[in-house]
Symmetry: C2
Subunit: 379 residues, 2 copies
């Protein structure tokens, strides 16, 4: 990627937008005005894993949303420590994450994998920081709020920067967030009793290197070469495969069980029945999900469309005449989750079922944006 | 494609196999021995739409399966008429399809679109030919058998070349065939009452030009250019979208309703409930389907795996430890439909549900192979 200085460019013009990301996977979309959110009264913020795809998106989202901060600490592994990075016209030196990183931190946004979160998350909390953790390390722990701000903000009630107390809040998994952004408004009206989900998941969920691998493999296949498989053990270009997460004893993979378990926790409904099949498709940075819903009380599609049209963070793209519905490319680099193909499920009688198709940016609402929205609620 | 003479090459070595097809989308996989099936006692065979992706696959499959024929007539539109094509070491001149094409034909394999089938199918039957039609024109017509040989051979009972009577048999839609190859053996044991299907459909379903468009668009996007959209109105490279079939008044698209209606007809079960969401993914020639099944009587996953392992035309790829399951690339150019991710649906109690993931070559078992298998049953 040619030096860490090139990583964050809020004003760079996007090229190769056909990917739904800039030519350099780590490059960022153009932000039309650069806001300066460095303010005395803001919290001190740390980003753990700043060199990753989600870490980079944290910066982008913080800047776009004018998130106030008194100071910013950029943390990464030893490998990246010492490199500098420009953000909102200031130069920052990336520091190596260690036990002493959190002494003066109010809010720490973590996205450096589960083992880093497990080791350093509790340390940061001990030092008084509020950790918003993007890994799966603490999501299912009792007492840890698992929050989608549009869905269950009440789960983090009372957790505020000004309390002076550390806390940990978990960011749900990307496919859960994207699914529940669309399913929850309908659930509130008619109570979802069962949900059958099939996902179409982008490379970005496996990180920036996976996006690069997809791009590189595609070039190779087009040139008639053998594709190089490093991140995934099978060809990804012009192919798809069952999600690479480990398979559990019940035959579901971990990604699928996240959808099952996280939905129950977020909806605070331990009876909701969920099954999921998670598949990786050769798309760069946005997930799609085909969701079949069963309801406790009838819900017709007209009402469903109306509910979804008014749901915060959701946009309805459902033009049957033009055959235009959500696509991953269209939602790439966008905040909103798009929903379409809203129709009464003909395999269920009496308006007790709906089929919908949902797309959302995996790095943005599926990760960084949701975490920053959580951070906003801490102020 | 550089001249029609280059289209059919049963002995050409495949290059660029990363696509799951040869570098030239119309090129054929290598056939290791070329059989000569020209025999006096065989039927006279016509192929309608021989220059299309499925038409080409008809030739490939006929040759590989040593299908006997007394004569072979290659029919296409005016555009291709007069060109020559080599098949099993003989040169054929492609003839223009017209009202007089079927005077001496025993079996006509049609794959030239619904309107051609509607116009010329009944004409061929009148002349005494048995038409195996790959279009959707007659599939739902009463009295027209809709056949997957492994599933409902009884539907075409009594239809034989030696009868001297014309007949029309419909080949089901590709996604129906691939789904039912896996679902039927389970249905026979435990009776499927409801099925929720989400598809991951390849370019080939929209023809050879769509495969070329996907390849070309991908090159363009990798070069940072705007992708050329001719066949589909939106970007296909590194993207996916709701199937391009027209949307009906109930909100389902025609592709989805084929799965719903054809399943009922093929299973001769008008009560089976099916819902489907059909999506095109940037894959060349094999479809994948995520299928959630509900049964009338319990069926555990061990029994299901055993049943599928013994099902004709089905191969089980279900290695949980190695995380290896069916992929479209793996089944490309293969006859068998692959099934994996076989697991008890945790959203249903008491073994009344299973989730499976199925992949099958769209051009082969989804079209040409199934039609040739039907033709074999006519002898």
């Amino acid at each position: 990627m040619g030096g860490i200085m090139n990583m964050y460019h809020p004003t760079r013009i996007p090229i190769g937008s056909g990917f739904g990301h800039k030519q350099t996977p780590l490059g960022r979309r153009a932000v039309h005005r650069v806001r300066m959110s460095l303010r005395e009264e803001g919290p001190s913020v740390a980003i753990v894993g700043v060199t990753g795809a989600v870490g980079q998106e944290f910066l982008s989202v913080l800047s776009e949303r004018d998130f106030p901060y008194r100071s910013l600490k950029l943390l990464a592994s030893k490998r990246s420590a010492g490199k500098t990075l420009t953000f909102e016209n200031r130069n920052y030196t990336i520091e190596e994450l260690n036990e002493n990183s959190f002494g003066d931190v109010d809010i720490a946004l973590f996205s450096a994998g589960g083992s880093i979160s497990k080791k350093f998350g509790p340390l940061a909390v001990e030092k008084g920081a509020i950790v918003v953790d993007n890994s799966s390390a603490f999501r299912m722990d009792e007492g840890i709020p698992l929050v989608i701000p549009e869905v269950n903000p009440e789960a983090m009630e009372g957790i505020k920067v000004n309390n002076g107390k550390g806390a940990l809040i978990a960011n749900p998994n990307c496919s859960t967030i994207i699914c529940l952004m669309a399913a929850t408004p309908l659930h509130r009206r008619a109570k979802v009793t069962r949900m059958v989900v099939s996902t179409y998941q982008a490379a970005s969920g496996a990180g920036a290197a996976a996006m690069e691998e997809l791009e590189e493999q595609t070039r190779e296949v087009l040139q008639g070469k053998e594709p190089t498989c490093n991140i995934f053990k099978q060809q990804y270009a012009f192919n798809l495969f069952s999600h690479n997460a480990p398979i559990l004893s019940n035959g579901y993979n971990e990604e699928e069980m996240k959808l099952v378990k996280e939905t129950r926790k977020i909806w605070n409904d331990h009876n909701v029945k969920v099954t999921a099949t998670c598949i990786r498709v050769p798309v760069m940075r946005a997930h799609a999900e085909s969701v079949n819903l069963q309801f406790e009380t009838p819900l017709d599609e007209k009402t469903a469309r109306e509910i979804l049209s008014n749901a915060p963070g959701v946009v309805v793209i459902d033009d049957r005449a033009a055959n235009l519905f959500p696509t991953p490319l269209e939602v790439s680099n966008k905040d909103d989750v798009a929903v379409g193909r809203i129709r009464e499920d003909i395999s269920q009688d009496g308006n007790y079922g709906l089929d919908i198709f949902v797309c959302g940016d995996q790095i943005r609402k599926g990760a960084a944006l949701n975490a920053v929205q959580i951070a906003e609620m801490l102020l």
